[in-house]
Symmetry: C2
Subunit: 372 residues, 2 copies
C-alpha cells in the first residue's frame, strides 16, 4: 500500500543501463545491485545465518510453496515470522509459490480463481489463490512479497502467452487489493514470454496497478542467452526508473553481469548453493569440478583471488577429499565459497558502477575466464 | 621414545579414583578428564575447526584406517600432516586402525606379522604391520599415536582372549621399537577381554615396555554396564599413576561419569556426533528425539540449561523442521549441541574434581535425568 518507492538511486553508469542504489525494507537497507541467496525451507542450505552475515548477505529468499506445505505459515507466524523462526534479522524476500506450483506440472490446475495442486510431500489437495499467497506471505513476515503469477512453458504460442500473462495481471491486482498495511513491500511480476510486445504490455499493466518493485519473471526457462537478453531489454525500459527491478531465478555469473549492465537491481538463483553441493565451484578463472583427479594433491586454494574462509584455510586436495568422502563439511565449505563468489561479484560491480568503470570491469570479467 | 610422562596431576578426588590433570603434546596442553570428538576422515562430521575451537575442544581423534585408505598418509604428509591438511592447530590423537580392521570381519586376516585386509572402498588388498601403523601415524603427524592392537570378539573364550592379548603385547613392543624420535606420544592398549586377571597381566606387560600413556581397549563391545565397570576397575589400578589413562570408544554421558569416577582421563566416542545426525540429542534432563511430533510447535530451546549456539538461537520446532526436511543445517546444529553437551559435561566434572564434590555432581547428574 506504499505509494513512495522503497528505492533510492545513488548513481548511474554512463556506459550502460546499470545503476547503483538501495532498497529500504522493514529490516534495513539493501545495497543494489544485489544477489539474494536462496533459503527454500527456512535455511540457506549448508550454511548458518552467521555465515551469511559474515559474507555480507543483506537479503535472502524463502520459498512460499515449500513453507506453506511444511512446516506451515501459521506455525511460522507464531515464531514471529520467518525471521524469528530461522534466526535471521536482515531482509527476506518470499516468492509467491507460483513457480513451484507450475513445476508440479500434472499435479497442478490453474483456474481464474487460483492454483489447485497436490503436495509433493504427501499428495494432499491444496489451493492457493492470489489472496492466499499474500496472506501466507504476511504470515511469513517477509520484507518483500511477490504477487502470485502463472508461469508460461517454453516454448509457448502467442495465444497461450497472452492468456497466461493477462491472468497474471488480474491476479496481481487481486494481490494488491488483498494486501494489509504491514509495512511489507509487494512486487509485481512481468510475464509476456518471449514476445517483446507482450513483455511491454505486461509491464505497463502492472505499473498502472502500482507496486513497490517489479520483477522480470519467466526467464532462464530454457531459452537462449540472446533471447534472455532481448526479453530483459524489452522489459526494463517500460518499468519506472524510481522502483527496483528484480530478475527472478537468474543465473550464471555472466547472466548477473549482463543483467546489471541492463539495469537490473536484484537477482536470486539456486546455482551457487546447488552447484556447491554437486562439487562445481565458481572461481575468477572459471568453474572447477572439484572431484577431478587433477586436484588430488593440489596444495593451492580454490581461487587465489578469493578471500573467503574456504580459500583462506583449505587446499583443493582437502576439498576434493571431503567431496569424495561425501563429508557434510564438503557441502558447507563449497557453499561458503560459491556464495562468497556471487556476493563478491555483486560488490565488485557496485564499486565499478560507483567509479563508472563497469565496461572495463565486464571486459576484465570475461578476459579472466579460462574454461567457460 | 620419551621416558618422562606427558601427564601432570593437578589434584585427586577424596571420594573416588577421579583425578584432574593435564597432558602435554606437541600442540599444547589438554585439560583432563577430556572428551575427544571423533574426526574419522580428517573432519569431525558436520562442524568446522572453528566450531570445535569455539566449544573448547582441545583434542580430536582421527582414524588411521580410513586415512590410510583415503586419501593416503603420504598425501597427508605433504600437507604438513593432518593438522595442515584439515586446518586444525590443536592436538590430534590417531587410533592405530586395529579396531576398524577387526570390524571388517571376513575381509581381514590377522597373523603374527600383522593384519591383511581388503579396503571397504574398492576391495583392494592391503597390509598393516605394527611397524606400518606407527609409520602411517608418524606421517599423519598426530600428537598421540596408538599401538596396533588385535580386538577380541565378545563373548570370547579365555583361550582366545589369552592368544589375542599376548599378540597385542608383542605388537606393542614392535610399535615401541619402530617409533622414531618425532616428539609424538605413543600409547599402549590394554586388552584382556572380560577376564580381570588377563586385564592385569596385559597392563603389566605394557607397563614393562613403557609407553607415554595407556588405553583400555575392548570395552563397549556388547557387554553389560556392570561388566564394563568391572573391567575398568580390573585395569586402572595396574596402570602407573603418573601416566594418562584413556578409555577407547566409550560412551554414553553416564559412561563418562562412571569412567571419570574410576580414574579415566581421556575418552572418545562417535555417539554425540552420530546421534546428532540421527536426531537424537543429549540434554541435562535426558535424550530428545527431535522428530517427535510433540516438538512441532515447541518454542523452547533443546535444553534450557545449555549455552551452545543451537540452544541460544533456535527452537525445538525449528530443529524439528530442519530434521524433517533433511536439511544439512540440521546435522550441523545438532552436532554443535551434542558435542557442546559432552565437552561441557567434562568441564563440569573437571570443576567438580577441583572442588572435591564429584559425588554430589554425580548424584545431581542422575537426579536430573527424566527419561533414561
Amino acid at each position: 500500500m506504499s505509494t513512495l518507492s522503497p528505492f533510492t538511486l545513488h548513481c548511474r553508469s554512463s556506459e550502460c543501463g546499470a545503476r547503483r542504489g538501495e532498497v529500504r525494507t522493514l529490516h534495513g537497507s539493501i545495497q543494489t545491485p544485489v544477489f539474494m541467496p536462496v533459503g527454500t525451507q527456512a535455511t540457506v542450505k549448508a550454511v548458518t545465518p552467521e555465515d551469511l552475515t559474515a559474507m555480507n548477505a543483506e537479503i535472502i529468499l524463502g520459498n512460499t510453496y515449500h513453507l506453506f506445505i511444511r512446516p506451515g505459515h501459521e506455525l511460522i507466524r507464531r515464531f514471529g515470522g520467518l525471521h524469528g523462526f530461522m534466526h535471521w534479522d536482515r531482509s527476506i524476500l518470499t516468492d509467491s509459490g507460483g513457480f513451484q506450483i507450475f513445476s508440479l506440472k500434472d499435479l497442478a490446475t490453474i483456474t481464474e480463481e487460483g492454483a489447485a495442486f497436490r503436495s509433493h510431500l504427501d499428495g494432499s489437495k491444496l489451493f492457493l489463490s492470489p489472496e492466499d499467497a499474500v496472506m501466507v506471505q504476511e504470515a511469513l513476515g517477509s520484507d518483500i512479497m511477490m504477487c502470485l503469477d502463472t508461469c508460461i512453458p517454453y516454448p509457448a504460442t502467442r495465444e497461450q502467452t497472452v492468456a497466461s500473462t493477462e491472468l497474471t495481471t488480474r491476479w496481481a491486482r487481486r494481490c494488491r487489493d488483498a494486501q494489509n498495511d504491514t509495512g511489507q513491500l509487494l512486487f509485481g511480476i512481468v510475464q509476456g514470454g518471449m514476445f517483446p510486445a507482450l513483455r511491454r504490455s505486461s509491464a505497463e499493466s502492472l505499473v498502472d496497478i502500482g507496486f513497490d518493485g517489479y520483477a522480470i519473471g519467466g526467464l532462464s526457462v530454457g531459452e537462449s542467452k540472446t533471447l534472455m537478453t532481448e526479453m530483459t531489454e524489452a522489459t526494463v525500459p517500460h518499468l519506472p526508473d524510481a522502483f527496483p527491478v528484480y530478475m527472478m531465478g537468474v543465473g550464471t555469473p555472466a547472466d548477473l553481469v549482463e543483467g546489471v549492465w541492463r539495469g537490473v537491481d536484484m537477482f536470486d538463483c539456486v546455482m551457487p548453493t546447488r552447484n556447491a553441493r554437486n562439487g562445481q565451484l565458481f572461481t575468477s578463472t572459471g568453474r572447477i569440478v572439484i572431484k577431478n583427479a587433477r586436484y588430488k594433491d593440489d596444495t593451492g586454494p580454490l581461487d587465489e583471488n578469493c578471500s573467503c574462509p574456504t580459500c583462506r584455510h583449505y587446499s583443493r586436495a582437502y576439498l576434493r577429499h571431503l567431496y569424495q568422502s561425501r563429508e557434510i563439511l564438503s557441502y558447507h565449505l563449497n557453499t561458503i565459497h560459491n556464495l562468497h563468489y556471487y556476493l563478491n561479484l555483486m560488490a565488485d560491480m557496485r564499486r565499478a558502477i560507483e567509479t563508472d568503470c563497469l565496461a572495463a570491469f565486464r571486459n576484465d570479467f570475461y578476459g579472466r575466464l579460462e574454461d567457460e
